[in-house]
């Protein structure tokens, strides 16, 4: 039961139209959450299909055309519809104004528009799914994407539209952070989640237009026959790769920076400890966001780009690794002398440290020029980016959901079930992806429907089989999470204002918060992680 004596944003006003036309950042966040979870379920469905097909060599239950569409849709949906909007648009929308002590984002109408633009883009993607699917891989490499007869146009147009939704959110966050901080809150008193979201927003605004232009050029080439990328019309296919990665590499940081931002919150709050190296974590987010614009060529070491370009891109790539490493050490050291509660969100945060470290370290193999030659386009790359995107961002997202769920809905989920499901996720994830490192370095190429005619089929079958069983365990974990989270809405215990002992503004208001967020205008009295000065119960 919600607290009936107070009006909270979930129950007032009532009615479906009050949701569809809402300008409340919290409601828009929840609408985003529902949409991206649907996308995640669809992407997950395709992923399970892929894993089942690869369980044994030879055709299992889908032909190569279906398989090619499955991996394309898995990638495109997970990237464009789930992971890019996931943390910023859902959790960020809900938390960022609360954390700043603001009543809403700077442009509430733009915020609502971004959700509708997202839904419009999603419709185009759905249309292409039902009009035959797409078989180009989520990267849409030309000239194959120019020549294939599948629904590339509607899918790329969908991604083009989704880009605007991302830009809208980015603009909103930048202005909100600059103009709407509570009295007394300087830049260096902002929670690190805000710093991470701010750095992300910069990339969203600066990089997304390039993807828009690239996809538009691709559509022009397909529809109008204007030769830009396809050599048959006088274009250059490597140019497409440059354009594509000029966005899509920074986009990787759109995906991971918000994850890092969540981890900073989770570790400090659940360890009840002042975060180690606040400024370095904040600076490194911005450094990663800026350096991220200059490393796109590391996706192209064997593409035929000049060796000199490759050298420069490799060098900058290593420099982006250093701020990332510093963050990891800072988070680990934050644990020292804390008072650590092994809550579900904290388990995800600790898992992030371990999994993201594996993702980061294996990135060093890929960034080293010579080593990339063997590993490029094999399962090693697949494993690496799943450790970063799933072991990093999705694990952080799950941690964030568990962390702010009591604030969003005012209800506590079953923590024992939470820890139980965490075990499935952790074990299933590692079973699925760890052996893919060996699978890849032994030579198994990615995007292969079948591996039955190889000299090494037996070896690959062992690794693939293990992966497929891991994916099933992972799937079970997600189903358990969905069950107990939904159940908590009906029979969860009231969470109270501050169940974890946080010191930031969102924990000082009621759960769920009122529509205007705070009953009295909040004034900053202490830093976000001053656990050495303030007891959580006193905020």
């Amino acid at each position: 039961m919600y607290n009936d004596t107070e009006k909270n944003f979930l129950t007032h006003p009532k009615g479906i139209m009050s949701w569809l036309l809402t300008l409340d950042h919290k409601r828009i966040g929840i609408m985003y959450l529902a949409a991206i979870l649907a996308a995640f379920a669809a992407g997950g469905f395709f992923a399970l299909g892929l894993r089942l097909e690869l369980l044994n060599p030879g055709k299992q239950f889908m032909d190569q055309d279906t398989y090619n569409k499955f991996f394309t849709l898995h990638g495109a949906i997970m990237v464009f519809l789930f992971i890019i909007p996931s943390i910023p648009a859902a959790l960020g929308n809900f938390c960022l104004p609360l954390m700043l002590g603001a009543k809403d984002v700077a442009f509430p109408r733009l915020n609502l528009a971004s959700w509708y633009v997202y839904m419009l883009g999603a419709m185009f993607c759905l249309y292409s799914l039902f009009s035959g699917g797409v078989d180009t891989g989520w990267t849409f490499y030309s000239p194959y994407s120019t020549q294939t007869s599948t629904s590339v146009i509607s899918m790329t147009f969908g991604a083009f539209i989704l880009g605007f939704s991302s830009i809208f959110t980015g603009i909103n966050f930048i202005v909100t952070v600059h103009k709407m901080r509570a009295p007394g809150m300087t830049w260096y008193q902002m929670p690190l989640f805000v710093w991470g979201s701010y750095a992300t927003a910069m990339i969203q605004v600066l990089a997304t237009p390039v993807l828009g232009i690239t996809l538009l050029l691709l559509i022009m080439e397909k529809v109008g026959g204007i030769g830009i990328f396809d050599p048959e019309m006088g274009g250059d296919p490597v140019l497409f790769q440059h354009f594509f990665w000029f966005y899509s590499h920074p986009a990787v940081y759109i995906m991971i920076l918000p994850g890092m931002a969540i981890i900073s919150e989770l570790i400090a709050v659940h360890a009840h400890k002042k975060i180690f190296g606040y400024r370095l974590i904040a600076y490194s987010s911005v450094a990663i966001a800026l350096l991220g614009f200059f490393v796109w060529g590391h996706h192209m070491f064997v593409s035929g780009q000049s060796e000199f370009s490759s050298m420069v891109f490799s060098f900058i790539t290593f420099f982006i690794g250093i701020p990332t490493g510093i963050k990891i050490f800072n988070w680990m050291t934050t644990l020292v002398k804390g008072s650590i509660c092994w809550t579900t969100p904290m388990l995800y945060a600790l898992a992030f440290l371990i999994l993201f470290t594996i993702g980061g370290l294996t990135g060093i193999f890929l960034g080293a020029l010579g080593l990339d030659i063997q590993l490029h386009d094999t399962y090693f790359v697949v494993a690496h980016f799943h450790y970063v995107m799933m072991g990093g961002t999705v694990i952080a997202f799950l941690g964030g959901i568990h962390h702010w769920w009591p604030k969003i809905f005012g209800k506590m989920y079953n923590e024992n079930l939470g820890r139980f499901a965490f075990c499935f996720i952790f074990v299933g994830f590692n079973m699925t992806f760890f052996n893919q490192f060996m699978l890849g370095s032994q030579g198994m190429p990615r995007r292969y429907h079948d591996y039955s005619n190889f000299l090494k089929t037996d070896l690959f079958e062992r690794y693939h089989g293990f992966s497929s069983y891991g994916a099933m365990i992972l799937g079970v974990g997600f189903v358990i999470i969905l069950c107990y989270l939904v159940a908590s809405l009906f029979n969860g215990k009231p969470a109270g204002n501050n169940p974890w002992g946080g010191l930031t503004f969102e924990w000082s208001t009621t759960s769920p918060p009122p529509t205007e967020n705070f009953k009295d205008d909040p004034i900053l009295k202490h830093g976000p992680y001053d656990y050495d000065k303030v007891l959580p119960k006193d905020i």
């Binding site: 194959y144 092994w342 080293a368």
Partner: protein, 308 residues
Amino acid sequence: MNERTFNLPPPASTIASEYDALFYFIYGLSVFFFVIICSGTVFFAIKYRAKKGDEEKLTSGFCHSTPLELLWSVIPTLLMFVIFVWGFKLYMRYFVIPANATEIKVTAWQWNWNFTYGEGAQSNVLVVPKGKPVKLLMSSNDVIHSLFIPDFRVKMDVLPNRYSSMWFQCDYEGEYDLYCTEYCGQQHSTMVTRVIVKSESDYQKWIEENSVTPAGDVLYNRYGCNTCHSLDGSANNGPSFKNLFGKKKMLTDGSTVDVDENYLRESILNPQAKIVKGYEPVMPTFQNTISDDKLDSLILFIKSLKEE
């Protein structure tokens, strides 16, 4: 050859052992840092686990330590430099192709490979000589492909609008997998073939057996016949091929000979036997350089220059 290791296939090419050295160097560092972070995280999480009554207590303000921060910034930075330079040097080994490499032309299309050798031999498996550097000159007829031989640690994209190239040297006879690793459409996963490494002599034999005989006019130029024998009747060191076949020719010893297939054959294999009057015995023998089918082809060409 060494066996396959936990992470990598057997190092079958000369560059593979250099590759593996860097791979296992980074591997060692990764394990080292992973153990530090993993054990640190687990150890601290257990050691500083909240106790009853903690919610009434403030925790330490420990949030800064210059020596620690320098330690974990400077050491990784130095290691990054080492890895970058090492990785770059290895990369250059891949891109500097030895001058004496045997060149094989690779053509890729959806969803096949074609390999063309110097002698005109063609195949859809890649046959290479053992112990000699091989250069692949590659191009595609349609979309982007990528040629990958895991056991050799080599990979390079194959593009439709330009040539790309790569090289390797394999010192072990045997068969190896060759994959397309750039997604290229419906049957991408069937674009798989083998590399067959043969001893030098077996390789030459294979080339000989699979060579397509070029047309005689090609051989006329290739074997340098054009230096001395014109096609238009003009005088040179040797008789012109124009209108030669079927004629009677006076020899240096005064006898005559009919220019037929057997005379042409003898003159190519043993040029000094019957010299046409007015010419010096300067022609080299082609006894061991020209095969029968090429001889046929060349004779056919000379016959074709006869005027009706």
